[in-house]
C-alpha cells in the first residue's frame, strides 16, 4: 500500500467539491470548539492544570497503575495486563470464549482499532458490532474510521443512505440523518438486547478510587454495559490519572474541545461490575513505554483523544483522514504513527504546515508542532527522507553556507522569474508551484539596496 501522504492527499483532493465540503464541515466543529472554550473564563488555566496533572501521572505511571489495580481489585474489577496488541486480543478472546459469548456490542475505542481486535474476534467466530453510529457506518462499509471522534465524517449523507438501504433496508434514496439514525437505533437495539458481552474503551482510569470513566453522547457504552452481564474495557497505560477529583478539570475541557458541547451526554463511572456481572479491565502497553522513554515525545501520551487538533489542522481538513497512513489521523496521529513505525509513516511529520494551531487548541497542551518538527529531524537522521527532499536540503545547505553561491543563486532566480516565470512549474518545483502564484521579482536584492544606503 502506498503510505506517502502527498499521494493519498492528492487522491482525496481530486474531488474538489467533496474536499471543500470536508474542510468546511471540520472548520464548523473548530468554531464550536472556540465558542465552548470562550464560555469558560479560566480556560487557559484549566489547560495548564490538565497538562500538569498528565505530566504528574506520566512521570510516575507505574505507581499510579499499581494503585489503580489495587483499588480496582478491591472494587471487584478484574485487571489484566497486555504487553502488545496480540496479547490484548488473546486476553479479551479468552474472557469471551470462556463465557460462551457469541455476540459482543462495542463502543468506540481507538485502542481496540490499534490492536485489530475486531478481525481477531471475527476470525474466531464471534460477531462484533460497533455501536457508535459513526463506527457502525464505517463497519457496515468495511472501512476504517477517518476521524477519532466522528469516524464517518468523510461520507456524505447520500452515501450513508445508500449503504443503509443495502444493509438495513431503509427506503432507496432516503438520506435524512434523522431517518438514518432511527434505522440504526432500531437495528442496534436488537444487538444490545441479544449481546452476551459489552466492550468499551476507557477515557480515564482513576488511581485513587480504582474506577474507570467512559463518555459518550449516544449512550451506546451505557446500553452495552448495563444489559449484558460481561463488560470488558480496554485501556492504554497512559489513561490513568491520580485522583477522581481530577475529572473536574478534564471533563470541563474534553467535550468543549471535541465538539463544543459543555460536557458529553453520558459520563459513566464504573467502580465495579453490575449486579451479578463481571467487569474486566485490560491494561495495554503496546509501545507506549517506549514513547514514554523518549523525553521529547513523552507529552504525546497526555492526549485525551478529543480530536481538536484534527479539526483545526489545515492539512487534515483538506486531505481527509485516509490520507494518513496511521489509523489515528491528524497532527496527533502523525506524531504517534511516526513514533510507532518511522519507516512506514515517514511522510506523516511532513503532513503539516507547522502553523501550530494544533498545539494552541490542545486541551492538555501537547506541543504537537514541535514534535512534528523533531520527528522530521528523526526521519532525516534515519536516512529515510525521500530523494527529492534529501537533495533539496543538501543543495539548500550548500547555498546557505557560501555567501557567494547565495548571491549568485539569488541573482539567477530574479532573472529567471522575470524572464521565464514558467520555469518554476517544471521539474521538482512543479508540485510546490502548482497552486501558488509567484510575486513579481524585484529588480535588486535586499543586499544591493542596503549597499547603496536605500531603505
Amino acid at each position: 500500500m502506498n503510505t506517502f501522504h502527498p499521494d493519498r492527499a492528492a487522491a482525496f483532493a481530486a474531488d474538489r467539491s467533496h474536499a471543500h465540503w470536508h474542510d468546511t464541515a471540520l472548520w464548523f466543529v473548530r468554531e464550536k470548539r472556540d465558542r465552548g472554550a470562550a464560555s469558560v473564563p479560566e480556560w487557559e488555566r484549566l489547560r495548564d492544570a490538565a497538562a500538569g496533572i498528565k505530566a504528574q501521572a506520566l512521570s510516575n505511571l507505574a505507581a499510579y497503575l499499581e494503585e489503580f489495580e489495587r483499588n480496582a481489585t478491591a472494587n471487584g474489577i478484574r485487571v489484566h495486563w497486555a504487553r502488545d496488541g496480540e496479547e490484548h486480543n488473546r486476553i479479551v478472546h479468552e474472557i469471551l470464549a470462556a463465557r460462551g459469548v457469541r455476540l459482543v456490542v462495542k463502543s468506540k475505542s481507538m485502542l481496540t482499532e490499534e490492536c485489530g481486535l475486531n478481525p481477531y474476534l471475527e476470525a474466531r467466530g464471534l460477531e462484533v458490532v460497533d455501536t457508535d453510529l459513526g463506527e457502525r457506518i464505517v463497519q457496515l462499509a468495511k472501512e476504517p474510521p477517518s476521524h477519532i471522534v466522528m469516524p464517518a465524517i468523510h461520507r456524505r449523507k447520500e452515501s450513508i443512505g445508500e449503504l443503509f438501504h443495502e444493509k438495513l433496508g431503509t427506503p432507496a434514496g432516503a438520506s435524512d440523518p434523522k431517518l438514518l439514525t432511527e434505522a440504526a437505533r432500531q437495528d442496534l437495539r436488537r444487538k444490545f438486547l441479544g449481546a452476551q458481552a459489552g466492550l468499551t474503551g476507557v477515557n480515564f482510569a482513576l488511581a485513587d478510587t480504582g474506577g474507570i470513566v467512559v463518555v459518550t453522547n449516544e449512550g451506546n457504552a451505557d446500553m452495552g454495559t448495563s444489559l449484558p452481564p460481561v463488560h470488558v474495557a480496554s485501556m492504554g497505560v497512559e489513561k490513568v490519572i491520580p485522583r477522581a477529583a481530577d475529572l473536574g478539570v478534564f471533563l470541563r475541557l474534553l467535550a468543549r474541545s471535541a465538539t463544543g458541547q459543555p460536557v458529553s451526554t453520558y459520563t459513566s463511572h464504573f467502580h465495579g461490575p453490575m449486579r451479578g456481572g463481571e467487569l474486566h479491565v485490560v491494561v495495554v502497553d503496546n509501545g507506549r513505554s517506549e514513547i514514554l522513554a523518549r523525553e521529547p515525545f513523552r507529552k504525546s501520551l497526555a492526549c485525551i483523544r478529543c480530536g481538536a487538533c484534527l479539526n483545526t489542522c489545515p492539512v487534515y481538513r483538506r486531505s481527509g483522514g485516509y490520507s494518513y497512513s496511521y489509523l489515528i489521523p491528524g497532527p496527533i496521529g502523525a506524531v504517534l504513527g511516526a513514533l510507532r513505525d518511522p519507516e512506514r509513516h515517514a511522510s506523516l511529520p511532513f503532513a503539516s504546515s507547522l502553523c501550530g494551531s494544533c498545539t494552541d487548541v490542545c486541551p492538555v497542551q501537547v506541543d504537537l508542532h514541535h514534535q512534528l518538527l523533531a520527528l522530521r529531524a528523526d526521519v532525516a537522521a534515519r536516512g529515510i527522507l525521500p530523494w527529492g527532499k534529501r537533495m533539496g536540503m543538501r543543495l539548500a545547505g550548500l547555498v546557505l553556507r557560501h555567501p557567494s553561491l547565495y548571491r549568485l543563486a539569488g541573482g539567477l532566480a530574479r532573472r529567471a522569474l522575470r524572464g521565464a516565470p514558467g520555469l518554476v512549474r517544471i521539474g521538482p518545483a512543479a508540485t510546490w508551484a502548482r497552486q501558488r502564484q509567484l510575486p513579481g521579482a524585484p529588480s535588486e536584492s535586499f543586499r544591493e539596496i542596503w549597499r547603496r544606503g536605500g531603505a
Binding site: 512521570s59 474506577g211 517506549e290
Partner: protein, 195 residues
C-alpha cells in the same frame, strides 16, 4: 516475567523524576445557579423547569405529553409520577425493554453544563436511565453547583458501585454533523429543579 511485571518495569525505567501537580484553577461561579442550570439543560437539547415542591412536580410530570401517552413507566421519586413496573420484581434488565418513561432522582446538578449526577444507588438496574424512551430527572435547588470541579468535590463515588452524569437526551451528529436527538438512549430528557 509476567506481562504485568514487564510493563511496570518498562514504565519505571522510562520515568524521569516525579513531577508535582500544579494547583487547580479557581472555577468561575454563577450567582444564579438555578437560572444558569435551566438554560444549560435547554442548550444541550433537554427541557427544564423549576417547581416549588413534590406536589407541583407530580402535576408537571403528569402533564407531560410523553407521560400521558405512556403505558410502561417507572418512577424512582416518591410522590412524583407512578410506576407500572415493579423494578424490584425484575431480575433481568432485558425485561426493561419497552420502558417508556423513567423518573429518576439526581443527587446534584451542574449549572455550567446541565449535567445531573445519578448515583448507582438510585438505580435498581443501571439500564433504567438509558433504556427508557424518555427520561425525567429531578434535582433539589439546593443541590446545584456551578461547575464540574465543584461537583466532584461534592459527590461521593460509591465503591464498589456506579454513577453517571447525564446532560440532556441521547444525541449524535455522526452523519454530516447534523444533530439528531435520540441515538441509543432517551429521546427526551426533562429536568425539574425542585424547591
Amino acid at each position: 516475567m509476567s506481562a504485568r511485571e514487564a510493563i511496570l518495569a518498562a514504565l519505571r525505567a522510562a520515568s524521569a523524576r516525579v513531577v508535582p501537580r500544579p494547583p487547580d484553577p479557581e472555577p468561575t461561579r454563577f450567582d444564579d445557579r438555578v437560572g444558569t442550570f435551566l438554560e444549560s439543560v435547554k442548550a444541550v437539547g433537554g427541557a427544564a423547569a423549576r417547581v416549588p415542591d413534590v406536589t407541583a412536580l407530580d402535576a408537571a410530570i403528569r402533564a407531560l405529553p410523553v407521560w400521558a401517552a405512556a403505558r410502561r413507566t417507572v418512577s424512582l421519586v416518591p410522590g412524583a409520577g407512578a410506576s407500572t413496573l415493579d423494578l424490584s420484581a425484575i431480575a433481568d434488565p432485558h425485561d426493561l425493554e419497552g420502558l417508556e418513561v423513567a423518573v429518576v432522582p439526581g443527587e446534584l446538578g451542574v449549572a455550567e453544563n446541565g449535567a445531573v449526577w445519578i448515583p448507582g444507588t438510585s438505580l435498581p438496574h443501571r439500564a433504567v436511565f438509558v433504556i427508557a424512551e424518555h427520561l425525567v430527572l429531578t434535582v433539589q435547588a439546593r443541590d446545584l453547583v456551578s461547575n464540574m470541579q465543584e461537583a466532584y468535590a461534592r459527590i461521593s463515588l460509591q465503591r464498589p458501585g456506579y454513577g453517571v452524569f447525564v446532560s440532556g437526551p441521547s444525541k449524535t451528529a455522526d452523519i454530516e454533523q447534523a444533530l439528531v436527538i435520540g441515538a441509543h438512549g432517551a429521546r427526551s430528557c426533562t429536568v425539574y429543579v425542585v424547591g
